[in-house]
């Protein structure tokens, strides 16, 4: 697949740049590219579709036949999950810490990114590298210090603790993304605004932030992403009152063996918020990616 994709992708680069007549001369390259890309999309979607189809099957069918189309279509697996109030609560908890994390990340990352894009100061290169290395904090061993830390400031077992802990992943990435967008804005704009009598705060809010809007969108997207998918910290920093859905899923797994249909349905339900998000922000994301100098 790799070799076909390589032929194609190069052809595509030429497509955007080169004239239509040139393109018509090389139809086989376009074909190769199309096949390669289709194969890649299929590779991405196939495991997802398989789980989706399983979630509509009964356990007997899952274990006896293997076909994409369920023979006896059933919604029982979903009903099992949605009738449990724990699940609804878990969804609310998860969405609340993901939202808090995204807002918190933007609040601290915006000024930091501004510093990296506008100032040259002692140690700026290495500071950025240090920020990034925090992502490495090897999960298992850091969990106990996290529990001790958040217990000592009375935040343990609250969504806010998870939101705060997740900034370790989201802040460095958000700073880097925003810095790319900010560096694309000429400094002449800053200077003109000051000459026109804007204060720094007014300039930042009214002129600068709208200009880097798509960048804020992309940074928020990645903050959401890394908080939403993380499991280890979310599980450790919560106990009873604020169980996130990732934990709820693990509990359903442990309850009585592996109930494949229910597990598949739970998996589908946990993909949904992410899929919905990416669907709603699709144009914004495409615009952000197109404008970003990243």
């Amino acid at each position: 697949m790799t070799t076909t994709a390589s032929g194609k992708s190069k052809a595509d680069v030429q497509d955007t740049a080169q004239s239509r007549e040139r393109r018509e001369k090389k139809p086989n390259r376009n074909w190769a590219q199309m096949i390669g890309m289709t194969a890649y999309y299929a590779f991405l979607l196939l495991p997802l579709l398989w789980m989706l189809s399983m979630s509509f099957k009964t356990n007997d069918e899952i274990l006896s036949t293997r076909s994409f189309i369920p023979q006896t279509f059933t919604l029982d697996n979903y009903i099992t999950i949605l009738s449990e109030p724990d699940w609804r609560n878990a969804f609310a908890v998860t969405l609340s810490y993901v939202a808090m994390n995204t807002i918190l990340t933007l609040i601290v990352a915006l000024p930091a990114a501004y510093a990296f894009s506008r100032y040259k100061f002692r140690g700026d290169n290495h500071l950025f590298f240090w920020l990034l290395t925090n992502r490495m904090a090897p999960g298992a061993v850091f969990l106990l210090p996290y529990v001790e830390l958040y217990s000592s400031i009375n935040l343990f077992d609250t969504p806010f603790a998870v939101a705060l802990a997740h900034t370790i992943f989201s802040v460095p990435l958000a700073i880097w993304i925003l810095e790319g967008f900010m560096s694309g804005i000429p400094t002449a704009i800053d200077e003109t605004a000051y000459v026109d009598g804007y204060s720094f705060q007014a300039f930042f809010r009214k002129i600068f932030m709208p200009l880097i809007g798509p960048g804020i969108g992309v940074a928020a997207f990645f903050s959401f992403l890394f908080s939403w998918v993380e499991l280890l910290m979310a599980r450790t920093l919560t106990a009873s009152s604020s169980k996130p859905i990732v934990v709820q899923l693990s509990r359903s797994l442990g309850a009585d063996g592996w109930d494949w249909g229910v597990i598949a349905a739970a998996g589908v339900l946990m993909i949904l918020p992410g899929a919905l998000l990416i669907y709603f922000v699709r144009d914004y994301l495409a615009k952000g990616f197109a404008l970003g100098r990243v």
Binding site: S9, Q33, L44, F121, F129, A137, E148
Partner: protein, 294 residues
């Protein structure tokens, strides 16, 4: 023009405060653990460097470390070139670009434990679709028993899960290249390879730096997906560092030992990442470049 002023640090205060809480304090706690013998119910005993000596002499640690390094470099070797190729093949505008973004972004938005479950139900020999692909060749694929199949499937899962990150990053860089660059290349009669090598690749340098660092650092945290897919087996084929760490820290409550282990490999990753960082930020510029801006 960047202002040369240490005032830049002022803007970084919020970000540094939040990182100090989340990164610095737990890190110091782990360093403290690593010099002690910590057993549940007993007071910790100061043992000096004993934990470090034991870790370095532990054959399990050495073999897991080698497996981890091989795994990390193999996935970089697959994901980075594949990600670049796919990004070159993705449509640049219109509804096709939006659809491609949604499909490619989907695996990134799936919680880690669901990724493990998706691949488990996709590849299990009794209910998965994947084993059926091998039947026509008379190959008896079994992810639970055959080490080659297990290792290959873990690799495939990681490629499925994380190549999209490289694709999205490269795609954003690619979209920021003005058409005039391609036109100039065409007028000069540049070949496809030369267009890629001298126009596209330099513009991707920043995103590739961050992409390679992110993937390399994050690959050491791989745990949840693998534990659900293979449980580290068969034998120790897919038991990477986090797996060993969790067994020491959570399984046998040997926190001092686990802390020393995680610090040793933290510093090894740090050194390798730093080499990547320096090479990638200085290559092609003739000087030590800016990590975050051109």
């Amino acid at each position: 023009m960047k202002i040369e002023s240490n005032r830049g640090w002022l803007f970084l205060i919020p970000a540094l405060l939040i990182m100090a809480l989340n990164a610095f304090i737990p890190f110091m706690t782990v360093i403290n653990y690593s010099f002690q013998d910590i057993l549940p119910g007993l007071d910790p005993i100061w043992v000096g460097l004993e934990n470090y000596v034991n870790v370095l002499q532990d054959p399990d640690f050495r073999s897991a470390f080698v497996r981890q390094l091989i795994f990390s470099f193999v996935i970089l070797g697959i994901q980075v070139p594949l990600g670049i190729l796919i990004s070159l093949g993705m449509p640049k505008s219109g509804w096709k670009a939006v659809t491609a973004l949604i499909i490619v972004g989907l695996p990134l938005l799936i919680p880690y434990n669901v990724v493990g479950i998706i691949w488990r139900v996709f590849t299990r020999s009794d209910l998965g679709l994947f084993p059926l692909l091998f039947e026509p060749f008379g190959y008896n694929y079994n992810v639970g028993e055959n080490p080659v199949d297990a290792y290959g499937t873990v690799l495939l899962m990681d490629v499925w899960h994380w190549t999209p990150l490289i694709v999205l990053l490269c795609y954003s860089a690619l979209n920021a290249i003005p058409d005039a660059y391609y036109q100039a290349a065409r007028i000069d009669g540049a070949s496809r390879w030369k267009t890629f090598r001298y126009i596209i690749l330099p513009r991707m340098r920043n995103v590739l730096t961050i992409g390679i660092l992110l993937r390399f650092m994050d690959s050491f945290r791989i745990f949840t997906e693998v534990s659900l897919l293979t449980g580290g087996g068969p034998g120790t084929t897919t038991s990477f560092l986090s797996d060993l760490l969790v067994r020491n820290a959570v399984g046998s409550f040997n926190f001092g030992y686990a802390a020393a282990m995680s610090l040793i490999y933290f510093y090894v990753i740090l050194i390798i990442s730093y080499v990547f960082f320096i090479v990638l930020t200085s290559v092609g510029t003739g000087e030590e470049g800016q990590p975050t801006a051109e």
